[in-house]
């Protein structure tokens, strides 16, 4: 009895809070998304999600608390949206003023009514009429950027588009690079002040990577940073001969931004050809590095290379997360990155100095990260024709699926993979537009080499693991955390999971029919209810607590 009346009281309290929130939100938001809104990021009223990582820190952590460890098991589906096309979501949807803005596979995108899941408009760009697209790993897209009344979208044929938010009509269309030479773009644009920052994919096709900033108003190029230095530039001598011309170093995962330092941070892709050492002697800067660029000019402030002369396709295209930490009694502005190479890094984001570098999976290629910031390489690092067994595999200890960071708990959450592979390498001639890897990796199998995955909670001040939740096979899901102590994740078998972010205990699960791949849910408030929006396969599903009274805003 007592329990029931407490529950009732709880509902009344939640209902009242929802009412207050709804009244507070009665003001119609301004028609244009301002740079100030982007700076504010995720607000406590839950009214919006306006960029890839939720805010410029890329923490992917929501302040919302209506859904809790105690009630998460009562989440109910509100609607399901189907793309009605082949391919699958790898996107982070945006939400503003009760409308979702979602990019999909095959150069498609939608505006969707967040109340009902009904389509408002649809954008589809025809794939190129001749030649082949070379996107190595699926005809996907990772999400919109937004500013003013415009959405920004990268395309598989390496364009950047500005679309009208109300109609999906093209406002401007800029060519990033020639797709027939192996360039593509799948990255979610990062909007900083009046600029739209993007990068290009194609690290398996002998491209020369770059990060571009375009004027949001006109689509004109504001600056370009080549991820491989040209002749005469510092770092050019880290590429033997002319190997720099086709050295890859692609950029396909959204960076983060520190407004005080006015720096953007981007992880850079692998050097090419991926596996063959002799084809590109040297450290191969800035492949597999984190670069800090002046947001106004694109000038390099500092770089840190995680894997000098990488031979295992270990792009550093993981999501860099910014936070303020106390390490050994010292307050630090840091950038954190769980790397594909198996090490977790915490760097001082003012200068790029290594603060923490610790393995978070089994690693066999480096003993440790030395005091000079370079990995201490172990024998067997260089693959050859006979093959060499290395951990992690080419897909890596983690990859592009976004991690999250809880600033109250000071914990970093990442879906990690425990997989080893035999790597082979051979010399390969470069042919423009053709795959250029110089080898391959084969996942090691057998009873003694069980491949599995785990959601791991890591203390970024030490690199130590606080807890883990294991999966029977490696997951490629991103993570969303909330201030109420929830971590949302997914497994490779298609289960959507709610986990207690303090303990790692599983609280609730639902079979979505397809894995959350390379993306995480987002969360927002709508009509007084907190919603969790889950992209999985060809569907978006919105979840909320039916027990919370719906308070429609009728403005």
């Amino acid at each position: 009895m007592a329990r029931r009346s407490f529950a009732r009281l709880g509902l009344v309290v939640i209902g009242a809070a929802a009412l207050v929130a709804a009244v507070a939100a009665q003001d119609v938001p301004p028609p244009l998304v301002s740079a100030q809104e982007l700076l504010e990021g995720l607000k406590a009223d839950g009214s919006r999600w306006l960029m890839f990582g939720g805010n410029y820190t890329n923490q992917r952590h929501s302040p919302l608390t209506q859904i809790t460890p105690a009630n998460v098991s009562r989440l109910a589906p509100q609607w399901v949206f189907q793309t009605d096309t082949a391919g699958r979501f790898e996107t982070t949807p945006l939400v503003r003023d009760n409308v979702l803005y979602v990019t999909g596979p095959l150069n498609m995108a939608w505006a969707v009514d967040a109340r009902t899941g009904r389509e408002i408009w649809r954008y589809k760009r025809e794939l190129p009429p001749t030649g082949g697209l070379t996107a190595c790993c699926g005809l996907v897209n990772k999400g919109f950027g937004v500013l003013g009344d415009r959405l920004f979208l990268t395309t598989l044929d390496a364009h950047l588009l500005a679309l009208n938010m109300k109609t999906g009509a093209i406002v401007w269309d800029t060519t990033l690079a020639d797709y027939s030479k192996g360039y593509a773009s799948t990255i979610a644009p990062l909007v900083v002040k009046d600029k739209v920052i993007v990068g290009v994919a194609g690290g398996e096709y002998g491209i020369r990577g770059f990060i571009d900033a375009y004027d949001a108003a006109t689509g004109k190029l504001a600056w370009r940073f080549y991820t491989i230095p040209g002749p005469g530039e510092p770092g050019h001598d880290t590429w033997a001969g002319d190997s720099w011309e086709r050295g890859g170093a692609s950029v396909w995962v959204t960076g983060s931004y520190d407004p005080e330092l006015n720096l953007v941070y981007y992880g850079i892709g692998n050097p090419g050809p991926d596996y063959h050492s002799e084809s590109r002697k040297g450290d191969n800067l800035y492949s597999d590095s984190l670069v800090a660029l002046d947001a106004d000019t694109g000038k390099l402030r500092w770089h840190y290379q995680f894997t000098p002369h990488d031979l295992h396709d270990w792009d550093a295209t993981q999501v860099p997360i910014l936070a303020d930490l106390t390490i050994a009694g010292q307050p630090r502005k840091v950038v954190m990155l769980a790397n594909r190479n198996g090490f977790f890094y915490t760097l001082d984001r003012t200068n790029g100095k290594l603060l923490v570098g610790k393995p978070y999976v089994v690693t066999s290629w480096a003993k440790e990260i030395g005091a000079d910031g370079r990995p201490v390489i172990l024998p067997g690092y260089v693959p050859d024709e006979k093959g060499s067994l290395t951990c992690p595999d080419a897909t890596g200890a983690t990859n592009f699926w976004p991690p999250s960071y809880d600033p109250q708990q000071h914990l970093f959450f990442v879906n990690a993979r425990e997989v080893c592979a035999t790597f082979y390498a051979w010399k390969q001639e470069y042919v423009p537009g053709e795959r250029y890897t110089g080898g391959a990796g084969q996942r090691a199998t057998g009873p003694d080499k069980r491949a599995f995955g785990a959601l791991r909670a890591i203390d970024p001040a030490t690199g130590e693991q606080k807890w883990e939740f294991q999966y029977i096979s490696p997951s490629t899901s991103g993570v969303l955390t909330t201030a109420s102590g929830l971590a949302f994740s997914g497994d490779a078998e298609g289960n959507f999971l709610a986990i207690d972010s303090h303990t790692g205990k599983l609280l609730w699960h639902f079979q979505m029919g397809s894995a959350l791949h390379g993306t995480s849910p987002i969360t927002y408030m709508l009509d007084g209810r907190q919603h969790i929006l889950v992209p999985a396969g060809t569907t978006l599903t919105a979840w909320a607590l039916n027990e919370v009274p719906r308070v429609p805003s009728t403005r």
Partner: protein, 276 residues
């Protein structure tokens, strides 16, 4: 390699969409009739890497077949380089063998794979079996048919053997029967579930996730179970197939059985055999 499959699936789906729009359709020039890279050491090495990454999941590291057929016997059985090239390029309709279109797979990639495969292929076919196939058919009816299907009769717990004479070399079949194969094909792993009422459910594991397991039990009932509903779920990490040692099957009987299995070359009346 699930990862690779997912990636391939996306590419294949993407490609299907593209073909429907009649764009990107690249018609390759007729390939040469003889592998231009046969015996080329560099090509063989490159082909080995590509083979291991893109073919070995189904055909095995030794090319002796897992889900896909043994492909060490293809030349001995009279297939030509050009025909094999086309099979890799276009796939095999109604089977799991996918097409490998350009530009992801170049002509050179395919010739390299074939150059490597050739190094694993015996120059001549295995000699005729010394066993008696009709005696083998009797042994099959006694020992095997409860689980294995040939044509329209037999059980469903084990793989369909209607085309096994094409898909597997005799030596591999002998190893399997004698229990000397370390790997278990997915979908045929033995699993035992203990229900709270003391009942035991034994069968082959068809699928699983962290919350459930899907089983065909020894009575061929297909059913999913929640792990939480069971006292235990025990993976035996071995095939459900019993080992037929010399105590159960003499060497001479094994030869007879092998002769019968080799005679199973497929049957148009049994469409289920196509997928092998």
């Amino acid at each position: 390699m699930k990862w690779l499959h997912l990636v391939l699936a996306v590419l294949v789906l993407g490609a299907a969409d593209v073909v429907a729009q009649d764009v990107f359709l690249k018609i390759p020039a007729d390939p040469p009739t003889k592998n231009p890279l046969e015996g080329n050491a560099e090509a063989i090495t490159a082909g080995m890497g590509t083979y291991r990454v893109r073919c070995a999941d189904c055909h095995g590291m030794d090319a002796r077949g897992i889900r896909g057929p043994d492909i060490t016997q293809v030349w001995a059985k009279g297939r030509t380089d050009a025909a094999l090239f086309r099979t890799i390029r276009t796939g095999v309709p109604n089977t799991e063998m996918p097409a490998h279109p350009a530009p992801r797979t170049t002509d050179t990639d395919i010739w390299r794979i074939l150059a490597y495969l050739k190094t694993m292929a015996p120059a001549t076919a295995e000699g005729p079996s010394s066993g008696n196939a009709s005696a083998g058919a009797g042994l099959f009816a006694t020992n095997c048919v409860a689980c294995h299907r040939v044509g329209t009769s037999g059980g469903h717990l084990g793989p369909d053997l209607t085309r096994i004479g094409v898909a597997r070399a005799r030596a591999a079949l002998a190893r399997q029967i004698r229990g000397n194969m370390p790997d278990v094909r997915a979908g045929y792993q033995s699993v035992t579930l203990a229900a709270p009422d003391g009942k035991e459910i034994r069968g082959v594991k068809k699928n699983e996730d962290q919350f459930s397991v899907q089983v065909m039990d020894t009575r061929e009932r297909i059913q999913g179970y929640l792990r939480d509903d069971m006292k235990s779920v025990t993976d035996e990490n071995k095939s459900m197939m019993p080992v037929f040692g010399p105590d159960k099957l003499t060497d001479a009987q094994l030869d007879d059985l092998l002769a019968y299995l080799e005679s199973l070359q497929g049957n148009d009346a049994a469409p289920s055999a196509a997928n092998r």
